[in-house]
């Protein structure tokens, strides 16, 4: 059996993409993740391809339950994203997508911190092309901000890895204690990619600015690789419970009033990551299973939602709620698929989110973290309001915008169809998902108590939405943006630097001119004495020198005789 490092196939395979004609290219690109997936099935657990480099022991491939489930879902996400982009002929985006997916897969199997760093930066550099591919000045700037933050995360990871090696003598990527500078730097590096509160803005900034197909790729990999890394490196770190709870709650408020529906989805992505971060913080086997299961169902329903909004953007040229409405009339399939995604993220029974979210909430309750438990329930109600109802409602229903765009292209419909099928399949028959989890799991989501209480929560939240819309109290969808924390580095810090400049520049100018005056005066003085007309620069006649010598000589003799 031929074994190859997971992910590398997609990265190396990307090189051939621009050489192939369009007809063959799609089949070829789809074949890469399919073969890669098969490769995972035959790859035995353990360390592979290990070697020593300059005295460091590297483990490029480590296969175990945790890496495998992320490997599986990354391959599936890559395949779906590729099908969704079948109509596109831009080879730069195609290569970027493959290298990006391959790097994320490779990262999930990295057994040491250096290998992780290489793939970590790979995801950063490859993915920015999916934003730049929009080819506007705006996309360029957004991509730059994204790249600086992502590469910065990688630099922190490398610095942390070096310090960790100095402290422990090992580069092994395993569970770490959050003490000492090395693990702290690594933790922050993971936190940036996982979009921790206050480190999160790159996500909402960049994902809505990427191309129609690029955002589908983006939604799957970077943040979930970070969740994997946290689950591997920092399970049971209590601080993560609080970070995760904050993440689960605060983006909801923004999502509720955001106009760009792809940005709404970016906020909701952030909020769903919160569930996984809480689960990693709880750190029990059940909680980690929950994090992994939620990553799987999250990748699927989030990709589905981004695909449906991508299809809308592709057909209408906008994803802004204020300009959409009534699209169900001409895009009925996209509407249906979007609603499946919405039901899944809202965790309606029979949909994927119900299984995975329930594992996390149960694991949190079992460990007695009641504050986090309440926050997660609050977020569960909120998700329905902004993601579950708002996104489909304002795009496809609401007031008719008069637009009658064509239904999405066939390849998009197929990609959405497959994903929607998987969302429902996991919801109805979760056994295969539970079997693929890192630890043995016999969680029962469909108990009478759980189904009824969760339905109550969702139905009454829907009731609030209906009431607000009917009464006209629901915040209207306005053409506006809402300032988030990125305001600090996009406005505050530049402004502070500018106003400091306004104070310092005149002062600086005065000091300089005073100093220059001094120098000029000094030069003028020197010039006066030593210049062409200067007293000290005159040429003296030989006779006067002789006279002076005679005077000096006579003075000397006079003194000598005295």
């Amino acid at each position: 059996m031929i074994e190859f490092p997971p992910g590398l196939l997609l990265i190396v395979g990307a090189i051939l993409v621009p050489l192939l004609p369009h007809v063959v290219r799609n089949a070829y690109m789809l074949a890469l993740p399919v073969i890669g997936f098969w490769g995972l099935l035959v790859l035995p657990e353990g360390i592979h391809f290990g070697f020593d480099l300059f005295g460091y022991t590297l483990a490029p491939v480590r296969v175990d339950g945790l890496s495998l489930i992320f490997g599986y879902i990354f391959h599936i996400a890559a395949a779906i994203s590729i099908i969704f982009a079948f109509h596109m002929k831009d080879s730069v985006q195609q290569m970027a997508g493959l290298i990006y997916a391959g790097s994320a897969i490779g990262g999930a199997f990295a057994g040491d911190l250096i290998t992780l760093f290489v793939y970590w930066e790979g995801t950063a550099i490859a993915s920015v092309f999916l934003i730049w591919a929009n080819k506007s000045e705006h996309a360029y700037k957004t991509g730059m901000r994204y790249l600086i933050i992502q590469v910065g995360s990688g630099v922190l990871l490398l610095a942390g890895a070096i310090l960790q090696f100095k402290a422990s003598g090992s580069l092994d990527f395993a569970k770490m204690e959050l003490s000492g500078p090395g693990p702290v730097l690594i933790f922050i590096a993971f936190g940036i990619k996982a979009a921790f509160p206050l480190l999160h803005n790159w996500l909402q900034d960049s994902y809505p600015e990427a191309t129609v197909t690029g955002t589908v790729f983006l939604s799957a990999f970077t943040t979930k690789l970070a969740i994997y890394a946290l689950a591997r490196g920092f399970p049971g770190t209590e601080m993560l419970i609080w970070i995760g709870a904050t993440m689960a709650a605060f983006p909801i408020f923004y999502a509720l009033i955001e106009n760009d529906l792809r940005r709404v989805l970016a906020y909701s992505l952030n909020n769903q990551l919160g569930y996984m971060v809480v689960a990693v913080g709880v750190g029990t086997e059940m909680a980690l299973n929950g994090a992994a299961a939620h990553a799987v169902s999250h990748v699927l329903y989030k990709a589905l939602l981004f695909m449906s909004m991508g299809a809308v953007l592709y057909r209408t040229g906008t994803a802004k709620a204020s300009e959409l409405g009534g699209l169900y009339k001409s895009m009925p399939y996209t509407t249906g698929f979007c609603m499946v995604g919405a039901a899944s993220i809202s965790a309606f029974p029979l949909f994927s989110g119900f299984i995975s979210k329930s594992i996390i909430i149960a694991a949190v309750a079992e460990q007695g973290h009641w504050v986090a438990w309440i926050v997660l329930l609050f977020a569960a109600a909120g998700v329905l309001l902004y993601s579950g109802i708002k996104v489909p409602y304002f795009a496809f229903f609401n007031q008719d915008s008069g637009q009658r765009p064509q239904e999405a292209p066939l390849n998009m419909l197929i990609a959405m169809g497959i994903t929607a099928f998987l969302c429902i399949a996991i919801g109805i028959y979760p056994a295969p998902l539970l079997a693929a989890l890192p630890f043995p799991e016999d969680f029962q989501a469909y108990t009478t108590s759980h189904v009824i209480t969760h339905l109550q929560l969702l139905l009454f939240s829907a009731l609030v939405f209906t009431y607000l819309v009917k009464k006209g109290y629901y915040p209207p969808q306005l053409k506006a943006i809402n300032l988030d924390f990125d305001w600090t580095y996009r406005r505050l810090i530049p402004n502070v630097i500018r106003s400091l400049g306004n104070v310092f520049v005149p002062a600086d100018r005065q000091i300089r001119s005073a100093f220059l005056n001094r120098v000029e005066k000094f030069i003028a003085g020197v010039f006066r004495h030593h210049g062409p007309e200067g007293l000290l620069a005159r040429t003296w006649p030989t006779g006067s020198t002789v006279l002076w010598v005679a005077v000096l000589l006579s003075l000397y003799m006079l003194f000598y005789f005295i």
Binding site: I252, E366, A381, F397, S449, H450, L459, Y474, N482, L483
Partner: protein, 91 residues
């Protein structure tokens, strides 16, 4: 909106206000049924508070009210023009 509809376009089920009312009514009924269901089964719970009748519906209502008010507040504080960040040389 009727005035935006093209004259030859077919009418959709949701175009009829009565059908929308039916959907809303269905939601009311579903809410009512799920609330009443609390009286008829034994809950398996992690916390005692979950045993209260109607706790989940009430929690849902309160959560959404908090969200709604919070979002309104957020809007008054942080809403800016759409091209707030757009520099002069953009696009």
């Amino acid at each position: 909106m009727a005035d935006q509809k093209k004259p030859d376009e077919k009418s959709y089920w949701l175009d009829d206000r009565n059908n929308v009312k039916k959907l809303v009514l269905a939601l009311y009924v579903a809410c009512g049924l799920s609330f009443v269901a609390d009286f008829f089964y034994h809950k398996h719970v992690h916390y005692d508070v979950e045993n209260w009748i109607g706790i989940y519906p009430i929690f849902g209502l309160v959560a959404c009210a908090v969200l709604f008010l919070g979002a309104k507040l957020l809007r008054t504080l942080f809403m800016r023009d759409e091209d707030y960040y757009q520099e002069a040389d953009d696009d």
